[in-house]
């Protein structure tokens, strides 16, 4: 492994984190709630360490797949670790593990919180939580690739390790250009959302917080009651639409910019994603109408918001869905596993994988009927490589395995099964709220240290799609000579 290059890249990541903390510093200066010094201190530590690591002399800058994976995994752990410092130093979150939980939740765009009273926390700290969301949404390392000069072809390994989906690819021949395009689309869409929210009478500070939470499909709010606190149909509609928009594969936006409307409408994953949203919303509307909501309008309003929020793994809430009928709750849990499209900012298994899994099952069935038939799995008319299918199957198992093992740890707290299992899936799929005590009205504060640690790891494992973090635990991964 190219250890020096890994250290150097980690240095760059820390420097980028320091720069991204500057807006929060400014916010803390404006509101003067005593959290300014915590940001100054953290920025100083980050810069000192980051610049120090960056000055490491490297013999060769070539990195291979495993170096890329190491940079991504260690980068995310470090970023979460240092991101926790402002919470700790300012005293907003006094315990170390709680601060780490909050920081990992922010960067992994989960939006699960251990803070009971968010409105009592200094505004700078709340802003930092949401800016961390925004950074983590598109990826800290993708940002590094977009910003830093002298990007080599081998950085593709970093991008592949960080970007979600079974086969992340480039839009344009140059990797740096691809990263730039991704961020430009991301920034422009976030800015448009801020404008829409401002138009609905939301204050600038709140608009930014909620736009960051939506863009990254994170779900941190500045209000205890989340988006429900505003009680405005306009704001809820804007956020619903943007949550869905950010759950769409960004490569489709690029195709759209290039004037390729056809590929947008013909994309199977997009159809599947929107179809699921529609069907799930419809079923829940029918299920909740009359029992929870008295008017059909109300039912549609709350259901569509909640379905979009859960399937895109955002986790905003306008209603306490733990009070909904069991069928609706169950449907939401299924959506939690599923997640939105690959190549978006959402977490979860991703629609494309579910779609592929269904197609694989269909192929198996046909193979039983016609044992000698030759069948290929196609997406958008293109044959999907057997290797990718195999990857999807293994990923599905790995996901379920991590889910099961984590539940075992969390159950040690002796909370009810529903709360424990949905807490794990809410963290693993980067959603935020689950059911039971971790529902939209509750939070994760009641869990024990071990559970919080496991859930913290789950969030990062889920964001990076398992393998980078799993690799860190493989002993041979670290050896110079590994056989």
């Amino acid at each position: 492994m190219n250890h020096k290059m890994i250290l150097k890249s980690l240095g760059s990541v820390l420097c980028i984190e320091a720069v991204c903390m500057v807006p929060s510093l400014l916010v803390s200066i404006i509101y003067c709630q005593g959290d300014t010094s915590s940001f100054l201190l953290t920025i100083a530590i980050l810069l000192l360490l980051g610049l120090g690591l960056r000055s490491v002399k490297t013999e060769t800058t070539t990195i291979y797949a495993r170096d890329g994976f190491a940079i991504v995994a260690l980068g995310w752990l470090l970023v979460s670790l240092f991101g926790a410092l402002p919470f700790l130093i300012s005293g907003a979150v006094p315990s170390v593990i709680d601060a780490l939980f909050e920081s990992a939740s922010a960067f992994s765009t989960t939006g699960a919180s251990i803070i009971r009273e968010i409105e009592g926390i200094p505004k700078g700290i709340v802003f930092w939580r949401s800016s961390a969301h925004w950074m983590g949404g598109m990826g800290v390392l993708v940002m590094m690739i977009a910003i830093l000069p002298s990007v080599k072809a081998s950085t593709l390994h970093i991008m592949k390790a960080e970007s979600p989906g079974p086969a992340p690819g480039k839009f344009v021949p140059k990797i740096k250009e691809t990263a730039k395009i991704l961020y430009i689309i991301y920034i422009v869409m976030t800015a448009v959302q801020v404008i829409f929210l401002l138009a609905g009478g939301m204050p600038l500070y709140d608009s930014l917080i909620h736009a960051f939470g939506t863009a990254s499909t994170g779900g941190f709010s500045s209000r205890n009651a989340s988006v429900g606190a505003y009680g405005s149909v306009y704001i809820e509609t804007v956020i619903t639409v943007f949550m869905l928009l950010f759950g769409i594969n960004f490569s489709l936006y690029y195709a759209l910019l290039k004037g390729n409307m056809k590929s947008l409408f013909r994309d199977e994953e997009l159809r599947f994603f929107l179809g699921t949203v529609l069907v799930a919303s419809l079923l829940i509307v029918i299920n909740t109408y009359g029992s929870v909501f008295q008017s059909i309008g109300e039912s549609i309003r709350y259901t569509s918001f909640q379905v979009s929020s859960v399937i895109t793994t955002t986790g905003y809430a306008t209603a306490d869905f733990t009070l909904w009928p069991t069928f609706s709750q169950g449907l939401l849990v299924i959506l939690m596993f599923m997640g939105a499209s690959a190549g978006s900012t959402a977490g979860g298994l991703k629609c494309i994988r579910i779609l592929l899994l269904f197609k694989i099952v269909k192929r198996e069935v046909i193979k039983i009927i016609h044992p000698r038939s030759v069948q290929t799995v196609k997406i958008n008319g293109r044959i999907v490589d057997e290797e990718i299918l195999y990857g999807v199957l293994t990923f599905f198992f790995a996901y379920i395995a991590v889910f099961t093992i984590s539940i075992a740890f969390v159950l040690l707290d002796n909370k009810d099964l529903l709360s424990s299992s949905t807490a794990v899936v809410a963290c693993l799929s980067n959603i935020g709220p689950g059911l039971g005590i971790v529902g939209p009205a509750g939070n994760f504060a009641d869990f024990s240290l071990i559970s919080k640690a496991v859930l913290t790891l789950c969030m990062i494992i889920g964001r990076l799609e398992i393998y980078p973090i799993l690799l860190l635990f493989a002993p041979t991964f670290w050896k110079r000579v590994n056989i």
Binding site: A153, L156, K174
Partner: protein, 456 residues
């Protein structure tokens, strides 16, 4: 520039590597996903799996927004059709690799009808390169500039040469001649030498000047130049065909060893003056029985690198005068050099050089055209010939006053029929052909050899 390369073989890959390094947007199309994976992982390019003839795939690669398409698949016909389709779809320039001698004769017709901007025949190019080496045996490498008026010759320095262990400034005193030592390859390093540089044994030096002067200089420093009158060629492929044609024009006798009987029959028809022997060229017995140690040169150009190298080593063992081997896998050039084989030829490298020159030429079609470009010392340095434009800022300024960047050497100026090895007081005039040697710097225009900021 946006460039599409069809065919991710050795040439396609090497081109993609070099073009993406020169900051072009490169898209590769190939049917083989295994080949594409290597490119995807190692190069900053986009890879598309599919048939390059298909309009759909070409559109997906953005052919309508591309400036250049290079077709380098294994099939000549496919390359032609790719270029034709791409041209219809709106690409500016097309380059096709066409290697079949049958097509070579109708090339001008094909070029016109298919709208091809450039046709490259690697085997023919390799044949003419080998011919140049045979013409001047001491050289391991000969490149030509200004339509042959200037040559750059690479020579390995041995102890018997007078220039070994001499400073460059002393060499120019002892052997006053209008040639220049432009670059030195020592170990893994490429050096652009100055007067204080001492030539040592085992260095490779690049001598630039008029062919007759270079010849003259070489004899004076103690290189024995023997005229070659007979050549043994191992392998009867397409390179052998072109090479034999060229050599016969120079009245050199050629003996070809080819293992395949059917091909031997073909060769006797194609090359009536050559002696064709059917047998295995890596068989020492056969080589000895064909008294190859008396031949002026031994050229190993079969399709297998291993056979070529082994035969070349056998020839070296039997002290054949001049040994040339063809190698397809470029990445071992340093190791091969250490084996002591005089000259190594790679059709791939030659093809890449040709196309790179064309691409650089396109890039500055407005400025001064590139007439020649050779990548030397395994691609670590380049020798370029450019024509000075009419309205450039550097015209008529003595060279010592121009602040030329480090790592760039002004090697020669060709002005009409005279060749100037530049000194401090010489100037570049409009219309001059300027030959440069550069390292670590990609030059596309004469303007960018000069540090303008520090000049004031």
């Amino acid at each position: 520039m946006n460039i599409i390369i069809i065919g991710d073989g050795k040439v396609g890959y090497s081109l993609a590597e070099n073009l993406s390094r020169e900051n072009h947007n490169v898209t590769i199309i190939d049917k083989d996903s295994e080949a594409l994976r290597k490119a995807e992982e190692n190069l900053d390019v986009m890879c598309i799996k599919g048939n390059g003839v298909s309009t759909k795939i070409l559109m997906e690669a953005g052919v309508d927004r591309s400036d250049l398409i290079i077709a380098a698949t294994t099939s000549d016909e496919m390359n032609m059709v790719c270029c034709l389709t791409a041209k219809m779809l709106g690409v500016e320039h097309t380059i096709a690799r066409i290697r079949d001698p049958e097509y070579a004769s109708e090339l001008s017709l094909l070029k016109k009808e298919l709208g091809l901007d450039m046709v490259i025949n690697p085997e023919q190019a390799a044949g003419s390169e080998i011919t140049r080496l045979i013409k001047f045996p001491p050289a391991t490498n000969v490149e030509i500039f200004a339509k042959g008026r200037v040559e750059m010759v690479e020579i390995n320095v041995t102890n018997s040469m007078a220039i070994a262990d001499m400073y460059l400034k002393d060499i120019s005193h002892r052997f006053p001649s209008s040639v220049l030592i432009g670059a030195v390859h020592r170990g893994d390093e490429v050096i652009i030498p100055n007067g204080e540089f001492m030539i040592k044994e085992n260095d490779s030096i690049y001598i630039i000047g008029q062919p007759s002067r270079v010849y003259d200089f070489c004899t004076r420093i103690g290189i024995y130049i023997q005229k070659i009158s007979s050549v043994m060629v191992m392998g009867g492929g397409r390179v052998a065909y072109y090479l034999t044609k060229y050599l016969e024009d120079m009245n050199i006798k050629v003996k070809i060893i080819e293992i395949d009987r059917a091909r031997c029959m073909e060769l006797t028809e194609l090359l009536p003056h050559a002696l064709v022997i059917c047998g295995d060229g890596s068989d020492e017995e056969l080589l000895i029985s064909e008294n190859f140690s008396d031949m002026g040169a031994f050229v190993a150009i079969t399709g297998r690198d291993e056979d070529n190298l082994i035969s070349a080593l056998i020839a070296k063992h039997h002290s054949v005068g001049k040994i040339i081997a063809k190698v397809n896998k470029l990445n071992h050039s340093d190791i091969i050099k250490s084996l002591g084989i005089d000259s190594v030829i790679s059709p791939q490298l030659i093809t890449v050089n040709y196309i790179l020159r064309y691409v650089r030429g396109l890039q500055n079609a407005m400025g001064n055209p590139i007439n020649a470009l050779y990548r030397i010392v395994g691609g670590h340095a380049e020798a370029i010939e450019l024509t000075a434009g009419n309205s450039a800022k550097y015209l008529n300024i003595p060279i010592k006053k121009l602040n030329i960047k480090k790592g760039i050497l002004l090697a020669a100026i060709v002005r009409k029929n005279s060749i100037i090895i530049p000194h401090g007081n010489d100037v570049i005039k409009a219309g001059d052909n300027v030959i440069l040697i550069t390292k670590d710097e990609i030059v596309t225009d004469l303007e960018n050899i000069i540090n303008w900021e520090n000049n004031r």
